[in-house]
């Protein structure tokens, strides 16, 4: 079984003849490359997201779960700066659909920012994982001043060792060696996904060597051939491949295949 732990949906596009055209293309791609389930969020709002913005995103996400039942699971996307409303929308999504299995955060705040704490504590209470946009770039650092890198996740893990977090896309364009090395001694509940358009040879094997396969998740972040292709090419044991393909994620969200 192959679960894409980091993907996105568009939701119904009202200006299209087939409002599900874009998401259907993704599901067709999943079929073609053998992805059974993709865990999606909708980020289709200007950022930093307003309350209305992330609520709309989550309506789109929930509609997509319903439209593609069984193929898509969901993350509720919120701006944690609006603590009260963010927590309310996470709870609304989790209650609305059992296939909504976690929370997606972007780059409004680094994940160890005190503003995020109320949401972190709620996720611990609800026992749901957080997928957080991440990257450690050595150039053009002003583009995303509040993006989290592995050092922020390590700090979070010291404060909240029980929180379950996925560091997004080791192959998302930053210095993946830096990101991986910095996670070596992170809390065991802090893992990473291998998604992103970067297909540098050795990326996956290095992550296994440094972090261990128990903390890694297969994913594409919509770079379908990049995500699947590097997972396919990477050398690892069958046991590790199965863990990354689905077992780790199923364990993370407490579900069975």
């Amino acid at each position: 079984m192959l679960i894409d732990a980091h993907a996105h949906c568009r939701g119904p596009l009202e200006d299209k003849k087939d409002p599900w055209e874009q998401d259907r293309l993704f599901v067709e791609a999943m079929d073609a490359v053998g992805i059974d389930i993709a865990v999606v969020s909708n980020l289709g709002t200007p950022r930093p997201a307003t309350i209305e913005g992330f609520q709309k995103c989550n309506r789109n996400m929930l509609a997509a779960l319903k439209e593609f039942r069984g193929r898509l699971w969901g993350y509720a996307y919120v701006n944690p700066g609006y603590s009260k409303e963010a927590i309310a929308d996470v709870e609304r999504c989790l209650e609305a659909d059992e296939d909504c299995v976690g929370v997606k955060l972007y780059n409004e705040y680094t994940i160890d920012d005190p503003a995020v704490r109320p949401l972190i504590e709620k996720c611990i209470e609800l026992d749901v994982p957080i997928l957080e946009h991440a990257g450690h770039s050595l150039v053009n650092t002003k583009a995303q001043p509040n993006i989290s890198d592995s050092s922020h996740f390590v700090a979070l893990g010291r404060e909240y060792p029980e929180v379950k977090v996925i560091v997004a896309h080791l192959g998302g364009g930053g210095d993946w060696e830096w990101e991986t090395k910095a996670l070596r001694y992170a809390s065991p509940n802090i893992g990473a996904d291998t998604s992103g358009s970067v297909t540098d040879e050795g990326l996956v094997e290095y992550a296994i060597e440094i972090m261990g396969a128990d903390r890694l998740y297969f994913a594409t972040d919509m770079s379908v051939t990049a995500g699947v292709g590097k997972f396919m090419s990477a050398k690892m044991s069958d046991e590790d491949r199965n863990k990354m393909a689905s077992e780790n994620f199923l364990q993370l969200v407490g579900r069975e295949a």
Partner: protein
């Protein structure tokens, strides 16, 4: 035949590259059923004087000439590049060259680039441009090498209609002159598939429709990149089986007369 247009040997300054000797690369090719590959020196890209990198490449591939087809790295803004070009042709047997304006401090519009293209035309050599050697977001802190702009490459191709060009690690063709002005640009540019989409954006389908399958090349980026993504793209490109065979190797063999 599977003929990879996009392979490398040598060292990259910013990270360790595995499988970067000729026997290791050929073993990787065997593992992935790749019959032949065009190879250029990674070391030559960042040497101030690229030529020793070409010489290292020639020595490295000496026992693998039936599998590895050398492409010299030429910097037309460096002293005595014409000697390097002729050495690559006459001593190494280069079939083409790779140029790196983004690392060698010139632009595609500069006169040195035009002079190099003219020299390649006279020698019957293919000119290769690598739109993105590495993702700029993971650039080394000492080096700022932005992606080449596809429309600038299109202009270079238009300015030198008698030269054949290859674009490696390219993406964004669908919105570029290569697709939007395909009918008016000379048919002298070949594009490699490793970064273009076959699914949601379906860029490769648009490229094939606009430029023709005869101008699309298989390439992986090994050993810098995993080969898997390129093979997945080949599997799922929306085109005929006949065209897939062309892309997989026939087009490149014809272009290089191999």
């Amino acid at each position: 035949m599977t003929f990879d247009s996009n392979a490398y040997l040598g060292h990259w300054f910013a990270r360790q590259i595995r499988h970067n000797t000729a026997p290791e690369l050929v073993a990787l090719m065997d593992e992935n059923n790749i019959d032949k590959a065009c190879v250029g020196s990674l070391s030559a890209i960042m040497y101030r004087n690229s030529q020793p990198g070409n010489e290292e490449l020639a020595e490295e591939i000496a026992d693998y000439r039936d599998r590895l087809v050398p492409f010299g790295v030429i910097n037309p803004d460096y002293a005595d590049w014409e000697y390097d070009l002729d050495w690559c042709l006459n001593e190494m047997g280069t079939k083409g060259i790779r140029i790196y304006p983004q690392y060698h401090n010139y632009t595609l519009a500069d006169s040195c680039c035009a002079e190099l293209c003219q020299a390649c035309q006279e020698r019957g050599l293919v000119v290769t441009l690598i739109q993105r050697q590495v993702d700029y977001r993971q650039s080394h802190w000492m080096v700022d090498a932005p992606d080449l702009v596809l429309n600038d490459i299109a202009q270079l191709c238009a300015d030198h209609p008698e030269v054949n060009f290859m674009i490696l690690n390219g993406a964004g063709f669908a919105g570029s002159r290569f697709v939007t002005e395909a009918d008016t640009l000379p048919g002298n540019c070949y594009v490699e598939i490793s970064r273009s989409s076959v699914f949601i954006g379906k860029e490769m389908k648009q490229v094939i429709e606009a430029m023709g399958a005869e101008r699309v090349l298989f390439g992986t980026g090994i050993p810098m990149k995993y080969p898997g993504p390129a093979f997945l793209k080949m599997q799922h490109i929306e085109t005929s089986e006949e065209n897939k065979q062309k892309i997989l190797g026939e087009n490149l063999a014809k272009l290089l007369d191999i």
